[in-house]
């Protein structure tokens, strides 16, 4: 796998893992790389979107209003599995697209929003959203970074849910397992075998790899070859 940006961001995410929660680390790293004033992390389980963690009172308020109104870049990013750019809450195009949210945001002095979905294939896990008090158009490199951060955050959240230790997570830094064909196929198989949602299948695969000291790809390969099945 290419070391480079993915590894850099994954390493930064684990840097002070002992002292702060994963949610706090994701939002502060997002604020740093996007040069945003405030960032939030929203996780959605099934169709209910709930703010779980990170951010400040302003971002919590903004996220919550989006969920209640069903309108806003975070909601769109999650529903459409595509990053959303709201460059200016007073802009004509933006107001056409998210009328309810733009009104609320202007009142709270929020002028720009950028939201990246945390997703893979059919899995929609949530979004990382950045807020600015002045109009802001992301540069291509900020946009790329946000997408990579969302990928890295997804892997960190899955590892967290699977109880993978910090040492193991660190030893596999930068591995782009989400884009590994075999890992995705195996998740689909496990989801059908155990009759569980695909997200849970992904977590189960990671737990199985961790508890038997193997790489995720190795376990995935054994499952596809039907040499191994996970227990219910």
């Amino acid at each position: 796998m290419p070391t480079d940006r993915r590894t850099e961001l994954a390493r930064a995410l684990y840097e002070d893992a002992g002292t702060r929660s994963l949610g706090e680390r994701i939002t502060s790293l997002a604020a740093h790389i996007l040069k945003a004033e405030q960032c939030s992390l929203v996780l959605s389980m099934g169709y209910d979107i709930t703010t779980i963690t990170g951010g400040t009172s302003l971002t919590s308020q903004m996220d919550e209003r989006q969920m209640v109104l069903g309108d806003g870049p975070t909601v769109s990013a999650i529903r459409q599995s595509t990053p959303m750019i709201l460059a200016d809450t007073n802009g004509y195009v933006e107001r056409e697209r998210w009328p309810l949210f733009c009104d609320e945001a202007s009142k709270a002095k929020v002028r720009a929003v950028l939201s990246f979905p945390i997703h893979t294939g059919a899995v929609r896990l949530g979004a990382i959203t950045a807020y600015w008090t002045a109009p802001h158009s992301p540069t291509p490199s900020e946009y790329f970074d946000g997408g990579i951060l969302a990928d890295v955050a997804l892997e960190a959240i899955l590892n967290d849910l699977a109880g993978v230790s910090l040492d193991t997570a660190l030893s596999e830094l930068g591995q782009d397992v989400q884009h590994h064909t075999i890992v995705q196929q195996a998740a689909g198989m496990v989801s059908e075998q155990l009759s569980v949602p695909i997200l849970e299948a992904m977590v189960r695969l990671r737990s199985a790899a961790f508890s038997t000291h193997r790489q995720l790809v190795e376990v995935a390969r054994a499952i596809i070859a039907r040499e191994e099945t996970l227990e219910k």
Binding site: P2, T82, G121, I148, T181, G188, M189, S191, E192
Partner: protein
Amino acid sequence: MATPEQRLPVDQHTGQADLVSTLVDIGQMATHGASIVNVFSVLAAQCVQLLPVSAAGILLVDENSALHVIGSSSHAAKLLDLFQVQNDEGPCRDCCKSKQMISSEDIASDTRWPNFSPLATAESFVAVYALPLEAQGVVVGALNLFSQTPLTPTQVLTAQSLADAATLAFLQADMQQDRLLIARKLRTAVEGRNAIEQAKGVLSERHGIAMMEAFWKLRDASIEHDMDIVELAKAVVNREVEV
């Protein structure tokens, strides 16, 4: 990109009619809004049909220079590994970097790729070609061909013509658009692929069939339901549609 003059002569081993009909198919699929993942999967399958190659794969390169398998002529795990390993080294990686065709007509004695070559040789592949998927100076990925005998220059040109057609389909009206839009498209294509792989896993388990069969089942169902293959894949994984 092959120039129009280069593209014309198709040798007698490659039925010109077949090539033309494939080019037309690719063009039609694109204008009918078929998922790009579907277009690239057909391209890989057609390369194996039209040319004396044993396996073909399409890899797209993202903004982080990582390569993603988007379509392949076979879904055997070993072959997929052969594409995946090229994130570290191999002809596709070199091709995307140099924006030129990279080939080896004797992989076993080629010293450029110490990890890739043994894997390819173990699968009895003798020659490998990585052709750039390029339009207007932007390389979006590479077409990877494996064969048991070296290809003729004309056959390589045929492959490049197919690659050009698929790239044009991918970029369609976006020829003048910027890096950001192309990056968005690449990301969407890669995510679409992930959904298809997940759905293949579900269907393979449900019906006790191989991954390649699961792909064709998904493709047939997408035609039957008149649904984009990626949307259908997501619906299958989330148990919203029964296939």
